[in-house]
Symmetry: C2
Subunit: 437 residues, 2 copies
């Protein structure tokens, strides 16, 4: 490898322009740390770039990624255009051509994980994807290297900043989901089409990657249970608060005696849990190892500069390894390729959990007995039952809040169907998982 | 390097026995991750070891580290005996003999950082010291690799579990320092001689290492401002709580326009700061980079298994690098050796900060004017002044609580001397730094 490292940057959007700025602003520091000058030799972008305040005097800008892919002088290709078509071509072709690749593309990786990792294992180059999960938080690196001696038992994290921003605003200001979403959009914390964030898809992409690195296996995205935050109401946040919880959108995975669990969904998190303190657009991931115990990493999960920090850390790791004449210094999934397996995710109905159930009742006098009978039929233990009035104008209506003991999720869902059929249950029962510390 | 990696373990105390158990219990997983079997070929210990439940069938145990140092078959030497005499000899001699070394010895490293790092830079082996700072939290790795593209601006952390356990108990139970210390000793969270922990020395060792890795330079331990928690009283914790703060023992370092700051001392931490949520024996370190922004890493800062997790992660990093034919894959202080410098730590009197001042006053009628005049003479702005009664039996006595604006610490100390000279100030003024978020 030559003294100068030549990078080809595919994409000059939020993250791409951040990478450009970081490599310029911290150039002398990075040279002291790696012994190399990093030159962005080529950029491919379809957008206007003359208004970004960047100095392109050493860089050729074009609208075609092929100019980057065909340039034999380029050592490291950074894929930041997103999507799954051109991005896939860039990643696979670059690896096949012996280039090192850095990508932040969680959608691509979570769908084509095996194909891309196989290509990387065969290739002379390295593949970095730290920026694909939780932005600036070095969580992939922590699991692959920091906890490399541990059997990872479980992780649980806040991995979507938009959803956390909205939930934080609902909790702080007592506003509805729609109101909080609109405010987040106005402040630039949610996109015009927020579906990926609020419906849990973006978090699910990250969970598939975290499961792969934590449990050293490939998992199928379609097996993951995914629920967003659009159904969270202010009343649930208020009741959770009064009971010592906050509601967070959690992405989690765990290794159990029966197999692997994985899910994305809203959860009641105890205020004693560090994740409860993560507010606004920040992310955090807790990881449990069989020796290290509980850990948590916290930081900015998105944004131009934090994500650029993660991309550049992968560029630097690539350079440090290459400078030592080393390819693929670390197994991609923290396990040597010959031990990689495919693993199923247990369907949520076959897993256990504790649950918060909110029922709206009319004429509650005789209802408790019926409700307890239904829960009892499905072997659901009750930790607490509380009733609270809805308003003075509705004297016969009440909320009933049930916290269950740990129970089978499938049976809880059957119980809810039965509860929904009771004549005095006036709106569908709301069910939210309670995170176990 | 042969198929089998042979480790020499110096020390079989809390951490050493944890390393032994981890390498045994997770052996097959570690083999899948590294492609190697790790054999603890020799152990040196002066203590009884037949009651630890460990299987020594592949291990020779002796009371002399020389048996380990002289064994040419040993690849990696793990120094876990502590102290600065034999430990220093083990580390330096091993590096000079071309061995790789892993150590958790913060006292040794913080005092002989340059001598040991020079030896490591000259050596063919690697030096791992992740376990020396914050136990199982991979904070050294995060700074060296996760934030390798960032200029680190500042760090601030809870890096002594014993002190945090005591402060948490004082805060939760309203008990005195002495009471909380005694309870911590009874529960095994504080040693019989707790001086290193409660006087901030242990935290100071870690701060010197964090400053070195964060700011890519050597710092002199004797320049660090170090204060412990023995002077914290329940009244300060109660007032802090009522003002929205908790009191934590913080170790911090920062890069400023005038040079580098570093200190260990109690501080009022806003409840909005993630560090405020770190309770009991846990540790956490916040790091700010110029691109990644604020981050935090949280976990068990001590204990047999978490510290063993960090030691083994360094063993695995060594094996992965060696398997790729690579020596010293990472610059020890996150910067290539030729750029290493010595840097001074600015004396605390020359730094700025906001402060909490607690005065005990008799006959408060005319006192406020005198106090404000003294603060004004030293250019200390006042954010708030509050008075609170001490007890019904002492109607003329009051506490006066002053939160200052950011002010020069030297001038604050001069003002305190003057305040202590006032006739109506009945006990010495208590001063605690307020952590800026």
């Amino acid at each position: 490898m030559e003294e100068e490292i030549k990078v080809g940057l595919c994409g000059l959007g939020t993250v791409g322009s951040g990478v450009f700025k970081l490599l310029s602003e911290n150039a002398s520091l990075i040279k002291q740390r790696t012994g190399r000058d990093i030159i962005i030799k080529r950029v491919a972008t379809l957008d206007r770039y003359d208004n970004l305040g960047l100095d392109f005097s050493n860089t050729e800008v074009s609208d075609s990624v092929d100019d980057i892919l065909r340039d034999p002088e380029i050592d490291i290709i950074v894929e930041l255009i997103g999507g799954k078509t051109i991005a896939k071509k860039i990643v696979l072709e670059s690896l096949q051509n012996g280039k090192s690749v850095v990508t932040a593309n969680k959608a691509l990786l979570s769908e084509y994980l095996e194909e891309i990792f196989r290509a990387a294992d065969l290739a002379a180059g390295t593949l970095g994807f730290e920026a694909a999960v939780a932005g600036g938080i070095p969580i992939i690196r922590s699991i692959r290297q920091g906890f490399s001696g541990d059997r990872i038992e479980k992780f649980s994290g806040i991995v979507n900043g938009t959803a956390n921003y909205i939930l934080t605003a609902m909790s702080r200001d007592g506003v509805s989901f729609d109101h909080a979403l609109k405010a987040a959009q106005e402040k630039g914390f949610a996109e015009a089409d927020p579906a990926f964030d609020i419906e849990g898809i973006d978090a699910a992409h990250k969970v598939i990657l975290l499961m792969a690195v934590s449990f050293n296996a490939y998992f199928d995205f379609s097996q993951l249970s995914v629920e967003g935050i659009t159904g969270i109401e202010p009343i649930d946040i208020a009741i959770a608060d009064a009971s010592g919880f906050v509601i967070k959108l959690l992405g989690s995975g765990s290794r159990t005696a029966n197999g692997f669990q994985g899910r994305v969904g809203p959860a009641l998190v105890s205020k004693n849990n560090m994740l409860a303190s993560v507010s606004g657009a920040f992310n955090a991931v807790s990881v449990w190892g069989n020796f290290v115990g509980e850990t948590m990493s916290y930081g900015a999960g998105a944004g131009s500069y934090p994500t650029a920090s993660a991309v550049v850390s992968d560029i630097i790791e690539t350079i440090r390894a290459k400078s030592n004449g080393m390819d693929n210094p670390l197994p991609l999934l923290n396990i040597n390729a010959e031990h990689l397996t495919h693993q199923d995710i247990i369907p949520p109905e076959q897993t256990d959990g504790a649950f918060y159930l909110r029922l709206r009742l009319d004429n509650t006098e005789k209802s408790v007995g019926d409700i307890i009978r239904i829960l009892d039929e499905e072997s659901i233990g009750i930790q607490s039952i509380t009733q609270r009035p809805i308003s003075n104008d509705l004297p016969t209506q009440k909320y009933m809040i049930i916290f269950t003991e740990s129970a089978n999720e499938g049976q809880v869902k059957i119980a809810i169907e039965k509860l929904n059929g009771l004549s005095f249950v006036t709106t569908l029962v709301k069910m939210i998982r309670v995170e176990q510390d």
